[in-house]
Amino acid sequence: MTTRIGVVTFPGSLDDVDARRAVRLAGGEPVALWHGDKNLHQVDAVVLPGGFSYGDYLRCGAIARFSPVMETVIEQARAGMPVLGICNGFQVLCESHLLPGALTRNDHLHFVCRDQRLRVENTATAWTGDYAEGEEITVPLKNGEGGYVADERTLDELEAEGRVVFRYLDVNPNGSRRDIAGICNEAGNVVGLMPHPEHAVEALTGPTTDGLGFFTSVLKKLVATS
């Protein structure tokens, strides 16, 4: 039986198709989930993709957090289901308080799309097992509100507990505190990051194939625990 990975489509989601493609290329079975449907259709993990859910007019992710599907996702995430939030998905996870902190307007005020080098700082999460500790990867980054902020205490805690999963290298593209590109919850099953691994799964269309590891990691993890 193949492993089913759900990809939520909110109105305004943009990278849902790409996330499903990435799941498929990694060998999983992508399952499209609809924002208005609480049912997760027996998926083993969930990806909240990039985009501008509900237009992101109020704050990124603020409205999506209240969608029916998120009720179940929040519940399942607390019960240990692997959940990955990419870009807008990361924002939704923060707004849902599944992850601490918030994402704010880029310090230079522009939307930025670039190939971004990252260091993988934690390989114990559900989504990073296939990487080597300290591995440097390059994946696209594209956002207008990607500056990660949290109060000093939270930041210290994240660092102390090894919950900074990815850090920006070379340039900090959005003013994120302590160069943080992605974090996880205490259990390591919920991971959020601003860069887009699902855009780096084919040599033809991405800068690298470094992003595939996210999806192979979770598949392995799920097989191991099932």
Binding site: D15, G50, G51, L204
Partner: protein
């Protein structure tokens, strides 16, 4: 105020009407009266005035645009030609592609962010209305002097607007242009192109047929925005000090448009529409009259059923409103329920506002009273046609006589070196990454090539690798020197850009940005450009499938350079075979394809070093362009070249610098025999490209060129970390990069986002 019904209009033939304020001429107003056999009602007057505006009726340009059809080359690829929302091209394997470029110049000057954003929104709906899923956008832009304070207002706003709307829609931006010239100071050009993909059987047309079929308006509510926007913004010269006819600018809602796209595609998939039209300029006036005019019968619309954002709007205003993110569909009665259901799923408001009748009139009612009763063709398709006088401007001869080949040239290697650095660091030649990094090029996961490549390339089919490439080009300086040749050069460059990446050019779209048609000189430029473009399309075998005309781009008596922007669409069987521009393998041989002549008229060198514009633009040899394209395509298909980059403004040194910087590799060059180093580096002769050839392929490649008669000169090798022209100068890549990449950020760093 009493409602001006048809009956009331018949009863009160002598009421004064504000036809002049609405931009109509006396004879146009008289013609409306003649068509109707009475005076028009207020609503009818609104419709006619907006539909007969220059922007909607093409009244000044029509007679010249005709050539694109008349001279159109035979093409098996053309599925839908000029006249529809956009042309449709067969790209094989059952796929069809539609693409079109449009202008949003004047609105973008007034409100850069929203003007540019709604420009993207509008062109995307055009593509959607053809039945296609939009898959990419491009944005050819022109701004005033780079250091002018107003450029700092307009450019960041335009770029943020294009990015804000396009990124939020989830459409990759795969290319465009950024050109600075003082001639665009009060008249920036914001052109937007969209590409869409569909299966052949999904092509939809804008026509209302089938008596009893319902007219469904769906998307955003109608508000008071952009009322009269089309006639006021697009047709008249914009003058800050003029009468206080302050236009209501439209504000875009990309999220609403994203929903509209997904909703519409689902509706197409279930085959629920007979005809469909987007609402753009002239809003409901345009959509209803065009649908009815193209269809078989008439149409009845109950205007009071239109969902409003502002309940105080009058029927005339509702007809004129240019509220964004709306579409109008013709739906069979038994499919209406399902149609509305899909709209509801996507949270899109949809309302039946009327139906197709068996008559031949467009009738519009307001709370049961008839306020419009017109033959739709007279509104939509049979507007006025002008044969405006045109004449070659008096200054043209003097301009052409002011030969750029006579300008003082650099002599020493040191001087050459210094001018190279100035050229590649000049605003027009510098890297545009500061701008294009604000655009999402990855979304949808099918972008194979994007800026700064010669053309953008999108994968259409993941299994087979089928893809399309699109490039846009235009050079107002060339066109100013000679509009006929300038238009051909724009086409030639765009065509060459597509072929450089390995795709076969198939079809053309164009946006013709010119001054006032009431000025015979500007009209001559327009006529010449059309003639040039139509003639060249015939030779290259690429029909014009659609486009857009933007006139009145002038401030007072000063017009912009005539600026035909040409987009070319090409197809590639397997995107894995694409040719990128970067030199990435040391030791590969660099070949220059084509002939280099002493051609500096209109060149970047003459502009940057001498602030000069004069002489003749480079010669066009379309047969040579075809041959070059064939060679580039064959070489890509057979794996003979690893990189290619076309030569255009800035000449060889510009192209070489870009290929070297992109790949992070240097090059050693030898000036070919018989050429002067300066001409070799800076001339802008057309029909040329540089390629890098692996040593193992060199013989095969040069043989192919030899057999087919294309000059191919070995000019150097990919090597080191500098560009060295042997015996003349050497510039480290780091120095070139600094010059090339720091200019635009420095100009715009203190501008407000």
């Amino acid at each position: 105020m009493t409602l001006d019904t048809v009956k009331h209009a018949s009863d009160t033939p002598d009421v004064e009407q504000p036809w002049a304020e609405l931009g109509l001429k006396r004879d146009e107003y008289d013609r409306i009266r003649e068509i109707l056999g009475r005076r028009p009602t207020g609503a009818e007057l609104a419709m006619y005035s907006v539909m007969w505006s220059e922007h909607c009726s093409y009244k000044s340009s029509k007679v010249h645009l005709k050539q694109f059809g008349e001279k159109a080359p035979e093409s098996d690829a053309l599925l839908v030609g000029i006249g529809e929302n956009a042309g449709v091209v067969d790209v094989g394997q059952g796929y069809a592609v539609t693409f079109k470029v449009e202008s949003h110049n004047h609105p973008s000057y007034i409100e850069p962010y929203q003007g540019a954003a709604t420009g993207i929104g509008g062109i995307v709906r055009d593509i959607l209305a053809m039945g296609a899923r939009p898959v990419a956008v491009m944005d050819p832009l022109r701004f005033g002097a780079p250091d002018h304070p107003d450029t700092k207002r307009v450019l960041p706003g335009v770029v943020a607007g294009i990015g804000g709307y396009g990124n939020c829609l989830g459409l990759p931006n795969i290319g465009g242009e950024v050109v600075f010239d003082p001639c665009y100071q009060g008249n920036p050009l914001v052109n937007a192109l969209c590409v869409g993909v569909m299966r052949h059987e999904d092509i939809h047309l804008a026509k209302a047929s089938g008596t009893g079929n319902k007219v469904v308006l769906y998307g955003a509510r109608t508000g008071g925005d952009g009322i009269g926007g089309v006639s006021v913004l697009a047709s008249e010269t914009f003058d800050e000090t003029g009468p206080a006819k302050r236009p209501a600018v439209q504000v875009g809602d990309p999220f609403q448009e994203k929903l509209l796209i997904e909703c519409t595609l689902e509706i197409f998939k279930e085959k629920l529409v007979v005809g469909i039209q987007d609402l753009g300029g002239a809003g409901l006036s345009c959509a209803t009259s065009e649908l009815a005019s193209a269809g078989s019968g008439g149409m009845r619309v109950d205007l009071d059923t239109v969902p409003l954002r502002d309940s105080t709007l009058s029927p005339e205003e509702i007809l004129m409103s240019e509220s964004q993110e709306r579409m109008c569909a013709i739906v069979e009665p038994d499919k209406v329920d399902r149609f509305l259901e899909i709209c509801e799923k996507w949270d899109v408001i949809a309302t039946v506002i009327g139906e197709v009748t068996d008559g031949d009139r467009l009738e519009i009612y307001w709370h049961g009273e008839q306020i419009v009763d017109v033959p739709p063709r007279t509104v939509a398709h049979e507007g006025p046609v002008y044969h405006r006088p045109y004449a070659r401007p008096e200054w043209q001869d003097a301009l052409q006589a002011d030969d750029a080949n006579k300008l003082p040239r650099p002599e020493s290697g040191e001087e050459l070196r210094e001018q190279v650095l100035r050229l590649v660091g000049s605003p027009n030649q510098a890297s545009k990454a500061w701008i294009t990094d604000q655009y999402d090029r990855y979304v949808l996961g099918n972008t194979v090539l994007a800026q700064p490549e010669d053309s953008g390339m999108i994968r259409i089919d993941e299994e087979t690798g089928l893809g399309v490439a699109v490039a846009t080009d235009g050079n107002g300086r060339y066109a100013k020197l000679d509009p006929y040749t300038g238009a051909q050069l724009a086409l030639a460059e765009s065509y060459r850009n597509v072929a450089t990446t390995g795709a076969k050019p198939l079809a053309v779209t164009d946006c013709l940005n010119f001054g006032s048609p009431e000025d015979p000189g500007a009209m001559w430029q327009f006529a010449e450009a059309c003639r040039g473009l139509a003639d060249a399309c015939q030779v290259l075998g690429t029909p014009v499938t659609g486009g857009n005309v933007s006139l009145y781009n002038q401030t007072g008596d000063t017009a912009i350079h005539p600026t035909p922007v040409v987009g070319v669409l090409g197809v590639i069987d397997d995107v894995n075979r694409r040719t990128p521009m970067a030199f990435s393998e040391e030791g590969q041989m660099i070949y220059l394809l084509g002939d280099t002549r002493e051609e500096l008229g209109g060149s970047a060198w003459s502009q940057v070093i001498h602030d000069h514009l004069g002489g003749m633009p480079p010669k066009v040899d379309l047969e040579r362009e075809k041959l070059l394209a064939e060679i580039l395509i064959s070489a890509s298909r057979d794996g003979m070249i690893d990189a290619a980059h076309d030569l255009s403004d800035g000449g060889l040194i510009q192209a070489l610098t870009e290929s070297c910087l992109k790949g992070g590799k240097g090059a050693r060059l030898i000036v070919p025999d018989g050429l002067d180093a300066f001409v070799f580096l800076f001339s802008e002769s057309a029909g040329r490209a540089i390629v890098s050839v692996p040593r193992s392929e060199e013989l095969r490649f040069t043989d192919m060129c030899g057999v087919r008669g294309l000059p191919a000169t070995r000019i150097g090798v990919v090597d080191g970390d500098a560009i060295e022209v042997q015996g003349r100068f050497s510039i480290p890549l780091t120095e070139l990069r600094e010059a090339h990449e720091s200019t635009i950020p420095a100009l715009l760093s203190d501008a407000r986002a």
